[in-house]
């Protein structure tokens, strides 16, 4: 191709007065942006390769570097925006499907930001979480409809298997293969220390991590990678992945270049072969089929472990959830359209699925209306960004939240959204050994524990303000929420009043 239509997206700005030519930037950039000109003793940069992951910026000892968005301007207009034009150039160049990583970046409504939380004043007292006990513990699983007693009048305690979480948050599924060994170890160790769970994703469980089994959710996806008896028995729960928020309706494709060594062994597929997860489970074409798989997995684990069914939030989500609640599953996990991914076709990521806030509200309402809400616990994910998002999700009806993007951010991710390249400079979404070792799990797990500890404090503060001392009392308590700038239909779906009402 003789003419390059695309001007680089970012500019590498180096303050030459500060640069000491230590070459740390050069050694740390897997994209080979930086180089050293030994004739003149200065650093050079090739911004065409820069993905703005900020690794060089973070490690530069004299803060001589910054990356800025290029202001080189195409003649865009309201219809033909810069990104749209560039996508056309890319496809005209490659002839391929556009790929992207992480969640939907488009300016579609974020309902969390249009929901406000209540606080107690005068007539009901707020609670100070530093002085009073606050309960953030939750149990996930099917709950009994009523108390039943045996012939001696003792309460029967043989309820369905439950997951106990110290706070209503879990790390959502990210497979070993899409993320590195050290990233998985960080998540596993943090989940264990926090008393919560992390999720293997669909890539199997590395043999070194079976010891964290009590805090692990093992996933069974359409590719069935790494699934066998010991795997199912290793986890605290089994999750059937039907869909993913970032790419509802399509499967996965981990390129052969990432199927190396332990990844190949863990997934139980040959080295260098592409790991392709089909779009459907080839044995599931109805709720009855799903029920069969749920029951098969329960049979395989002797009915000791709850089964989670994870689906993407799509148009008919309330009816789908109603079906799942009748399938024998213990927990439904719903993933909204802002959920992250290691790679998805751009058009799908940006245009398919619905916001998790609306999906959650409609599912919770539907299950209540049908009297089957206690059949299942609801877990929601798809860009839960903060403790306030968690509190709003619980008040809308969720039992717990799945977080992944926030977790990888804690590990160092800078959302450069090029996971698909396999050259993650932060050692997260890569299998290259020299990059993987950049993430020391001692540091990674500590940062995850810090993040979740901070969120737990904030959740307690928000609950205290509302005069609520147990997260169980907040669940589905939509009176604690008010909408701001939402229309009647949105308020109706969310089941909340407008601010001021």
């Amino acid at each position: 191709m003789s003419v390059e239509f695309l001007y680089p997206e970012f500019e590498v700005i180096r303050n030459d007065n500060r640069c000491i030519a230590c070459r740390v930037c050069e050694r740390q950039c897997a994209n080979v942006v930086h180089s050293y000109d030994s004739d003149n003793g200065i650093m050079l940069s090739d911004e065409t390769k820069c993905v703005n992951c900020q690794r060089c910026v973070s490690l530069c000892p004299t803060r001589a570097l910054k990356i800025v968005k290029s202001d080189c301007t195409l003649r865009e207009n309201a219809n033909w925006k810069d990104a749209t034009i560039k996508e056309i150039y890319k496809q005209a160049n490659s002839g391929g499907v556009l790929l992207s990583s992480m969640g939907n970046p488009n300016p579609l409504p974020v309902y969390w930001d249009k929901i406000l939380i209540n606080a107690s004043q005068v007539t009901n007292p707020p609670i100070d979480p530093l002085r009073e006990p606050m309960e953030t513990k939750v149990f996930l699983g099917k709950k009994p409809e009523m108390i039943s007693r045996d012939e001696n009048g003792k309460i029967k305690c043989d309820i369905s298997p439950q997951l106990e979480l110290s706070m209503p948050i879990m790390f959502s599924a990210m497979s070993y293969g899409s993320i590195s060994y050290n990233a998985h170890e960080s998540l596993a160790r943090a989940a264990t220390e926090l008393g919560i769970l992390y999720n293997t994703g669909e890539g199997g469980l590395h043999e070194d991590f079976y010891c964290y089994g009590e805090n692990t959710i093992v996933q069974v996806a359409s590719g069935r990678f790494g699934v066998y008896k010991d795997y199912l028995e290793a986890g605290a729960a089994v999750e059937i992945k039907m869909g993913q928020g970032a790419k509802p309706g399509i499967g996965g494709h981990l390129p052969g270049t990432k199927i190396v060594g332990d990844v190949s062994r863990t997934r139980m597929i040959p080295e260098g072969s592409d790991a392709i997860s089909p779009a459907p489970h080839h044995d599931i074409y109805s709720i009855e089929d799903l029920r069969q798989l749920v029951l098969s997995l329960k049979e395989a684990t002797e009915y000791k472990k709850p089964v989670i069914v994870k689906v993407a939030a799509v148009h008919n989500i309330a009816a789908i959830a109603s079906g799942i609640a009748r399938s024998g599953a213990d927990i439904i996990a719903i993933d909204g359209f802002r959920g992250g991914t290691g790679a998805a076709p751009t058009r799908i990521r940006d245009n398919v699925g619905i916001p998790i806030e609306l999906a959650l509200a409609s599912v919770d309402q539907r299950l209540r209306d049908e009297g089957i809400r206690n059949n299942v616990s609801l877990v929601v994910g798809g860009s839960i960004r903060s403790a306030s998002d968690v509190v709003k999700a619980i008040a809308l009806g969720a039992d717990a939240c799945y977080v992944a993007t926030a977790a990888v951010l804690a590990l160092g991710c800078h959302l450069c959204r090029t996971c698909q390249s396999g050259k993650c400079n932060w050692g997260i979404a890569t299998q290259r050994p020299e990059l993987v070792k950049r993430l020391n799990p001692d540091i990674g797990s500590k940062r995850l524990v810090n993040l979740m500890t901070a969120w737990r404090h904030e959740i307690k503060e928000l609950m205290g303000g509302m005069g609520i001392n147990s997260i169980e009392s907040l669940r589905g308590n939509r009176l604690m929420l008010r909408g701001i700038g939402l229309n009647e239909k949105e308020l109706q779906i969310l089941g909340i009043s407008h601010a001021g009402e």
């Binding site: 500060r18 000892p61 004299t62 020391n440 001692d442």
Partner: protein
């Protein structure tokens, strides 16, 4: 006694430790002023290849060959730390020859320099450890 230990498993070979060391021992308060456009004389060196890296600095041996071999009495042991008196060093470089770790090097003005655990400069704790982005160098009792 607390010593500086390298953990090659986590060393990225970024060489930040070398620059932090040179800066800490420069006596300057600004890294740019201390290091820009000058040859640097770090007391820690990253060694290795594409597959493995590690940072080497003085081991502060219990029975140090360098101290034994010093002809001018410039090297001595103070509370377990092997120190150098730059005023006494005559630059014979025998210590460099005998150190089995290659941890002693020639500094500015032809005299020898070595890691003194940042106890002699304003850093207060080893600058290499403080600045390591991946806990690949630690300062601990073993």
């Amino acid at each position: 006694m607390k010593r500086v230990y390298a953990n090659e498993k986590w060393c990225l070979g970024c060489r930040l430790c070398e620059y932090n060391c040179a800066f800490a021992n420069s006596g300057e308060v600004n890294m740019v002023k201390a290091l820009k456009g000058k040859p640097i004389f770090p007391r820690i060196h990253v060694d290795g290849d594409e597959s493995i890296n590690f940072a080497v600095s003085c081991r502060h041996c219990k029975d140090p060959l360098c101290v034994k071999s010093c002809i001018s009495g410039a090297l001595s042991i103070k509370d377990g730390v092997i120190c150098i008196d730059h005023n006494k060093c005559v630059g014979c470089l025998t210590c460099i020859l005998v150190c089995p770790y290659g941890a002693v090097s020639e500094g500015k003005n032809g005299v020898v320099q070595k890691c003194e655990l940042c106890l002699e400069n304003s850093c207060g704790e080893p600058a290499c450890v403080k600045g390591c982005p991946n806990n690949a160098i630690v300062y601990e009792e073993r």
